[in-house]
Symmetry: C2
Subunit: 297 residues, 2 copies
């Protein structure tokens, strides 16, 4: 297949590279010229979008949010009007379900099958072609994008024909993931007030009913004081903001999500935005006058 990949950040680049490895022709597009150059160096197509648009079989959009997704498709230089009928669109950003439905409708009007396909798994799995995809859309969209899913995902949750179902499931996942990361920070620093070292809490709680995937994954970052950003603090004001916007639209109160968002905002606001999201623990530690592993004495 000939595929245009819009967005070559840590997730998008990994997916584009996985598509190259699977033998597809891949045109990489990103405002960051270095990322596009790097993909060309790895075997990506040369030439401009204008030269390739009409012959693309699919576009994969891995951008930050709904606004950027809309811009890629229908902005001033939007791709949708240049695609051939039947070219498929796979949209991977975390967006409101209603936005996914709107995009699917606009694409359908131009005979472009649309897959609502938010992704999960982080940059390492993206690079390995081992993502999880929460996907919904028409049979035509699934069929056209099957080779893309095969090349980029280890697990595809097929959530039905309704575009928006994929984004709804992603929102549920992000709500829980964000709460659980903040809870990890809250619990490990609370333990410090009682003399429990984070490393010991991580070891014991991982075997108890209080554990979570995020506790086991992020807890060791706090225990070792290593905040190398695998997933940054800055993700969460964005993603929990989207979740709470969706919730507010349904008049749904989400107090734990709201509390978690406040902690991530405090982290981003106090200069920790680019650190690993486990650095949420630093907000709790500062507020309570605690010293975390790795802190200068």
């Amino acid at each position: 297949m000939k595929i245009g990949c819009f967005g070559l950040g840590s997730m998008g680049y990994g997916m584009a590279a996985s598509l190259l490895r699977a033998g597809h022709d891949v045109l990489g597009l990103d405002p960051n010229a270095a990322a596009a150059d790097r993909l060309r160096g790895a075997g990506g197509l040369a030439g401009t979008l204008a030269e390739h648009a009409a012959t693309l079989d699919a576009v994969v959009i891995v951008v930050l949010n709904a606004a950027q997704t809309r811009d890629v498709l229908f902005g001033p230089a939007g791709i949708a009007e240049h695609l051939r009928p039947g070219a498929a669109v796979m949209a991977c950003a975390t967006v409101p379900p209603a936005f996914a439905r709107e995009m699917a409708g606009l694409c359908a009007a131009q005979d472009l099958p649309y897959l609502d396909a938010p992704i999960s798994g982080g940059s390492v799995k993206a690079a390995a072609g081992q993502l999880s995809v929460m996907a919904s859309g028409s049979d035509a969209a699934f069929a056209a994008l099957r080779p893309v899913l095969d090349a980029t995902a280890a697990t595809v949750f097929e959530l039905g024909a309704d575009p928006g179902a994929g984004s709804a499931m992603k929102a549920i996942n992000q709500m829980l993931a964000g709460i659980h990361i903040a809870a990890m920070g809250e619990a490990l620093t609370f333990g410090l007030t009682q003399g429990v070292a984070p490393a010991q809490a991580v070891e014991v709680i991982a075997q108890c009913a209080g554990t979570s995937w995020m506790f086991e994954n992020r807890g060791p970052h706090v225990a070792t004081g290593d905040y190398t950003p695998h997933s940054a603090i800055n993700i969460w004001p964005k993603d929990l903001g989207i979740v709470l916007d969706i919730a507010a639209g349904a008049k749904f109160g989400a107090p734990l999500t709201a509390a978690a968002l406040q902690q991530f905002l405090a982290a981003a606001g106090s200069g920790l935005g680019a650190e690993d999201d486990a650095a949420i623990a630093k907000i709790y530690a500062r507020n309570a006058g605690l010293t975390l592993p790795g802190d200068k004495p």
Copy 2:
């Protein structure tokens, strides 16, 4: 060993029965005469506490909270003054670490080794002798109570000589467990607003980064509408209250724990206290005008 078991609720009875199965002589004590009768019928010792107190090798205290633990040991009819020197005390209620240290000190003054030994695992594991125990105390306390631990626990976390360390770890676990149950309820009902059935969310999220032990354990209760109380709502105002008391004593702010507690209080206050703690989802559903699986239409 000859062991006095104080408190024959769902956890305490299971532990007493496990001690009987292991061949120990067990005297069961509970304000509920039926529970004490039942243990005698299962092979427990006959006779009164006054007749047996001086010859007990150990007492196991599985009561509701710190106040009841203090009453068993040092109340008007407290057992401590009647025990022989060297008789060991295993205290299993969820209590503040400082309380455990105080009790250990008072017991040490009477030559009674004290094990700070909160338990985890629920009534089914208690009955099977398969609990997890978060234990701390002197070598003498561990040595004296080893047969009790062997008979009642599948996993013993040995957390050092400081009484209080066990209770601190239990508090960390309860903080996370309570947050994660509330988050489960928040996420599954949020999903409903977007057309995602709880059963589908449970299936998908269990395989994603948003999962937790509590999500996987309690989520199916919501998905099937079965609120048979394996662990009741009423546990959580008590346990999260203890956690927040400990936190406040350390001037530690715990916003997610506080948000979770408010939801459990709303559940208890609106008549759901005796239902399974997964019924926290009903608070979210009522507030948002949603219908959960099993609700009457």
